[in-house]
Symmetry: C2
């Protein structure tokens, strides 16, 4: 079958090819006012109080990696999608698709890891499902988590960033993607990088308690570049990053240099981008730094009027370069 | 690795091996008051009004079969789990795991089928996710749907059946499992059986509007035998079926005879078992027969005091046989 008529790996990368797939296949069919906003969670009108609803499937390979596993990832991913929408995560479901022959011990270890992450986040695993497929019909284990969050305050969307806002992140970039790469034996890394996978709901709600957050989003597939591009487009504004301000750990810098990866495009699982007014930036950073997942919090840029929908990087040498929306993902099956 | 230390296909069949997996691995880890009830949906205390939450992954092979496809199945399965708990299905999510090379045209056809089933059921597809894995890393397409339902009336559980109740079904048994089998080319069936896959929420709510339903559950994996065994155990009662009353279509009877399948154990996707007081049985059947999915509605048995937790069948010849909980599933990847 011709290549342009079938799904390709890059359609799952969270970049512009994923957007194309959604816009070409799913939105024309399913399009409705709830789904069309394309934020991390759906806001559902519900008698009494607002409700956020989200779903995410996890196919990370390998299932265990330094700093986490598919179970912790599945809980944190959904918790963070709810948190990014300004909801308080409350209940999650866990749907397992297991390949015949998968060891019970690994499954138990992954379940325990999910439970620990759920406790840390303060969510209840309320519903589950298990399917088993034959050898070679899936790759070990896939997990879907869907989540329900309570929306008490005004929800946060990706369209609220305004010129003059400061762009903040709670942590250094690129750890998760490189953790998964270094866990894949083929590259023979001796020093393994540990993933940043973490539930960020408490950090997000503490920032929101002190500051008015105009937009926020967790920077997973496609890295910080993808989410900033999404927010620039949704908000109709420009984002300028300063290279000198981007927090990067030494091990990540070294691995990116070696592998030729741009850390702005590497997946994170414990990084949230926050947009707050200039005069609230310092307060927001101070609040984040009190949280275990916010110790490397940093301001990385600003929102400008123009060019609308564009993300640019002011390099250390003073030049500007465009930070495009990634098309696919540098690394498939990162989450 | 020894066979008893790994997941086997039968662990996904919805019978006693699935129960063992859940009781051995998942409940000891995740156990909480919401999850432990093990009904089709979780009841969530929510400010204002009650909320039901459920999740299900679909791995049916092939993805298209007579009478439906994986998309219609994924919507109806979750709609029916919510309906079986006495909730009104409102919102569903759709998580796609797609194998590289899957044709766009098939994906679009499946999405349209989901949309049509959602419209028929009156639910909104509110959230979605797409992951792509490499060739050979999944088998075409897997879909997870999670669902949220509104609980306005008293919820229905599997533990409410009482001696004296009539056991009713809305439709003839075994169509879905045989539809999938006959769609798998290897058996070379010329006459294909069409699946019964259908959203039963309107049928269920119309019965509940007229009668007090003590228990209900949709009879999917493991067939009617599995759900009746679950309800017998949860309710601490006995269920006696009468073979002469079991509604079976001629094509299903013939295929079961040929393949050596017991139709009580074959999966359905449009069959709900209802437990109502004896004096409400006729009314419930009359209500069902007004619905397009209830035309073959029939009473198939009664609830007795003893033997508690057991399901028996009174055969046409007058003897009794035990209808055990299935251990695995006669047919893997039926849903």
């Amino acid at each position: 079958m011709p290549e342009n008529k079938v799904v390709r790996l890059a359609h799952g990368g969270g970049g512009s090819m994923t957007q194309q797939l959604i816009e070409k296949i799913f939105l024309p069919v399913f399009g409705n006012s709830v789904l069309n906003r394309l934020d991390d969670s759906a806001f559902i009108p519900w008698p009494g109080t607002g409700l956020a609803f989200t779903t995410d499937s996890f196919v990370v390979k390998p299932v265990f990696f330094p700093g986490g596993d598919i179970g912790r990832l599945a809980v944190c991913g959904t918790v963070n999608d709810l948190a990014a929408s300004g909801a308080e995560p409350k209940y999650i479901s866990a749907g397992f698709i297991i390949e015949e022959g998968f060891p019970f011990d690994d499954l138990r270890r992954i379940a325990v890891s999910m439970k620990e992450a759920a406790e840390e986040a303060g969510v209840c695993v309320a519903a589950g499902d298990t399917k088993v497929v034959g050898k070679g019909q899936c790759d070990g284990l896939f997990i879907n988590t869907s989540g329900i969050g309570l929306v008490e305050k005004e929800p946060v969307t990706g369209s609220g960033a305004v010129p003059g806002d400061a762009v903040l992140v709670n942590a250094s970039l690129g750890r998760h993607g490189l953790a998964v790469v270094t866990a894949r034996d083929e590259l023979g890394f001796s020093d393994r990088i540990s993933s940043d996978v973490a539930p960020l709901n408490r950090l997000a709600s503490s920032v929101r308690a002190e500051c008015r957050v105009h937009a926020m989003r967790d920077a997973t597939r496609g890295g910080i570049a993808a989410v900033l591009n999404e927010i620039a487009v949704q908000s109709g504004a420009a984002i300028e990053l300063k290279e000198s301000l981007i927090p990067l750990d030494e091990d990540v810098k070294a691995a990116c240099a070696l592998l030729g990866f741009d850390p702005l495009y590497v997946a994170n699982e414990g990084v949230m981008a926050f947009f707050v007014a200039e005069n609230e930036a310092e307060k927001a950073l101070a609040v984040m730094k009190k949280n275990v997942y916010g110790r490397s919090a940093a301001r990385i840029g600003s929102v400008l009027e123009a060019p609308r929908g564009r993300v640019t990087l002011k390099t250390i040498l003073g030049s500007h370069r465009i930070v495009d929306m990634p098309s696919g993902e540098q690394l498939p099956r990162i989450c």
